[in-house]
């Protein structure tokens, strides 16, 4: 297939169609509105359904219903809208319904602004709703990955019967790059648990209410076993120039693009810097992070937030080396030079 020049949000939306998704329920919010706009035109062309809900609360519950029928379905929003969806996400995870969620993050807290941000990292990876559950969370850093990780997200959702989030941001959503769609899309698995009308089979019930504590505990243990399997099988991380790196910059998503430029500039100045970019931020690629830092004497975690992934990096490295945090908040984007300065601070003060 030829390369197309597309905006990140549009590439993501087209990738969902490519993955066989025919149902989208959403609500407009900047900077993700290009996704519903694109799909309102595109989905009817392929026999699908686009429906604008009355709120994000309703949108996620429409996703719950559609996912319950076994259909591939997704929704997209931006930070405040994702907060509204958190109730429904908990129900979807509890009922083990596969679906894809997209957060094109913007500055927060509150109404915040519409500038790019990564401030929902903790929400996505640790606290998106009540109860013991996890999303699988994928962090793209290019328009190509907006497409590729979205397609993978649908496969993971079906494989683990779990909601999967693509954790994007306003930069990735709005920027344009060439993108190519792979021809090979795995067939979704059979879904004998779906509610479609009980014709010729025992009826199915999709339910998250389990009054007896022992029953609910068993449900939770089943979920945890599934998360353990995802941790075992699905961790992805890109390590760049880390083999001999003395200073490793860890970053995810669009911030990793900026960090990469800083690392390359540091190398050109003779500093042994490398980049560690977690692609799955849940499950967190702890082994790959440890591998990236095996020769490092310090790590700098750069994020467009107060410093959220930094705690996962510290856990992965078991505080073996100093881990510094360099974060920009409120939609401010760090520059490569600012990150380079952080690298240099550590370079001139060895052993910090």
């Amino acid at each position: 297939m030829a390369k197309l020049l597309m905006e990140g949000n549009q590439a993501l939306a087209e990738a969902a169609i490519h993955a066989g998704c025919r149902y989208f329920f959403g609500y407009p919010i900047t900077p993700q509105s290009e996704i519903p706009e694109y799909l309102s035109r595109r989905l009817p062309q392929v026999g699908g359904v686009y429906l604008q809900a009355e709120s994000e609360v309703s949108a996620i519950n429409m996703v719950f219903g559609a996912a319950g029928t076994g259909a591939r379905v997704f929704t997209a929003s931006s930070s405040p809208g994702i907060s509204l969806m958190s109730e429904g996400i908990s129900y979807i995870a509890a009922c083990e319904l596969p679906c894809v969620l997209v957060n094109v993050q913007r500055g927060g807290p509150g109404l915040g602004n519409i500038a790019p941000s990564q401030a929902d990292y903790n929400q996505a990876t640790k606290g998106i709703g009540h109860g013991d559950f996890h999303l699988l969370v994928l962090a793209p850093n290019s328009v190509q990955e907006m497409a590729d990780l979205t397609i993978w997200a649908f496969d993971l959702a079906d494989k683990y019967r779990n909601p999967v989030m693509v954790l994007s941001d306003g930069i990735l959503g709005q920027m344009m790059e060439p993108v190519e769609f792979s021809e090979e899309i795995p067939e979704p698995p059979e879904k004998p648990w779906a509610v479609t009308g009980a014709s010729g089979r025992k009826r199915n019930i999709i339910n998250s209410l389990h009054i007896a504590p022992e029953v609910l505990e068993a449900r939770n243990l089943k979920l945890q076993a599934k998360y353990a399997a995802a941790k075992e099988n699905e961790c992805r991380c890109e390590n760049y120039l880390t083999e001999d790196a003395e200073l490793v910059v860890a970053a995810f998503g669009s911030c990793a693009r900026i960090a990469k430029a800083a690392v390359e500039e540091a190398r050109s100045q003779g500093i042994k810097a490398g980049l560690c970019r977690p692609i799955t931020v849940w499950p967190f690629p702890e082994a790959a992070v440890a591998e990236a830092c095996k020769n490092a004497r310090a790590c700098i975690v750069t994020e467009m937030n107060e410093g959220q992934m930094v705690y996962d990096i510290r856990l992965a490295l078991k505080d073996r080396i100093p881990v510094h945090s360099f974060g920009k908040m409120g939609g401010v984007i760090p520059t490569p030079n600012q990150i380079l300065d952080e690298i240099k601070k550590l370079e001139v003060k060895p052993g910090v």
């Binding site: 009355e54 309703s58 719950f64 219903g65 559609a66 319950g68 129900y91 339910n207 209410l209």
Partner: protein, 249 residues
């Protein structure tokens, strides 16, 4: 030779209802199930249970079921129906669920003319949580959170759901009924049947509000609760068909 003159409808499971003695839910469940059965819809029906006394509806209706979050059943039903337009999709909701936390979902499902059927049970209080004020609680009615009776100054006025929804173009059939005597039970079944037929004909959104008595939380005997319903609820919540679109006629 003995012969069967009455039996459990196939659209109900064998599970005994958990409802309090005298509660209207059991009758309304049975009527809904009988209609599903008699219209031959059981194998293509997907039901959506809500949160409230009827939270366990998935144990009772012998069809594919989803259990939705509080108030969200119409949105969940929308998701199901948009994927499976040939399926029969219904929600079963109480007044706390539908008329308070789920107001946006029910209004917009009706506004869109979503081809689903809603069975709405109004017993003027939050039953499952122990009898607190609902949006449908009558002025003067004592509940756990209106200990001196609901007042318009402090708590506002009770919401009439049928009257509200019947103003929406997308609503094809809206009716209010009761089940306190055999004649009204028959009327309710007719209304529920009509609501499901509206869906089967693809005519739009249909809702039947059924006034139910709640002896436990009204602190009345089943007999007295019927009397209270007639004397207090009927004047404020008149029975009848509030919206019958031209296509339905």
């Amino acid at each position: 030779m003995s012969k069967v003159i009455a039996s459990r409808t196939a659209a109900l499971t064998e599970t005994p209802f958990h409802y309090c003695p005298g509660c209207a839910h059991g009758i309304i469940h049975r009527l809904t199930a009988e209609v599903i059965d008699e219209l031959g819809l059981q194998e293509k029906t997907v039901g959506v249970a809500s949160v409230g006394c009827s939270v366990f509806a998935y144990d009772y209706f012998n069809v594919d079921m989803l259990q939705a979050a509080h108030g969200r059943a119409p949105a969940v039903a929308t998701g199901v129906k948009r994927v499976l337009p040939e399926a029969t999709v219904f929600t079963y909701q109480g007044d706390g669920d539908l008329a308070a936390i789920g107001t946006a979902e029910i209004v917009h499902a009706a506004g869109r003319g979503e081809k689903i059927t809603v069975i709405f049970v109004n017993n003027a209080n939050y039953g499952m949580t122990g009898g607190q004020q609902a949006p449908t609680t009558l002025l003067g009615q004592v509940t756990k959170t209106t200990p001196n009776g609901r007042t318009s100054e402090a708590n506002g006025y009770p919401i009439r759901v049928c009257e509200l929804l019947s103003t929406l173009t997308g609503a094809a059939y809206i009716a209010r009924t009761a089940v306190f005597d055999p004649a009204h039970v028959t009327q309710t079944k007719k209304a529920i049947r009509k609501a499901f037929e509206v869906q089967e004909k693809g005519l739009g959104f249909s809702l039947v509000e059924v006034l139910g008595n709640c002896p436990t939380n009204w602190h009345l005997s089943p007999g007295d609760s019927v009397k209270w319903l007639k004397e207090n609820m009927l004047p404020y919540y008149p029975l009848g068909e509030f919206k019958v679109s031209e296509e339905v006629e």
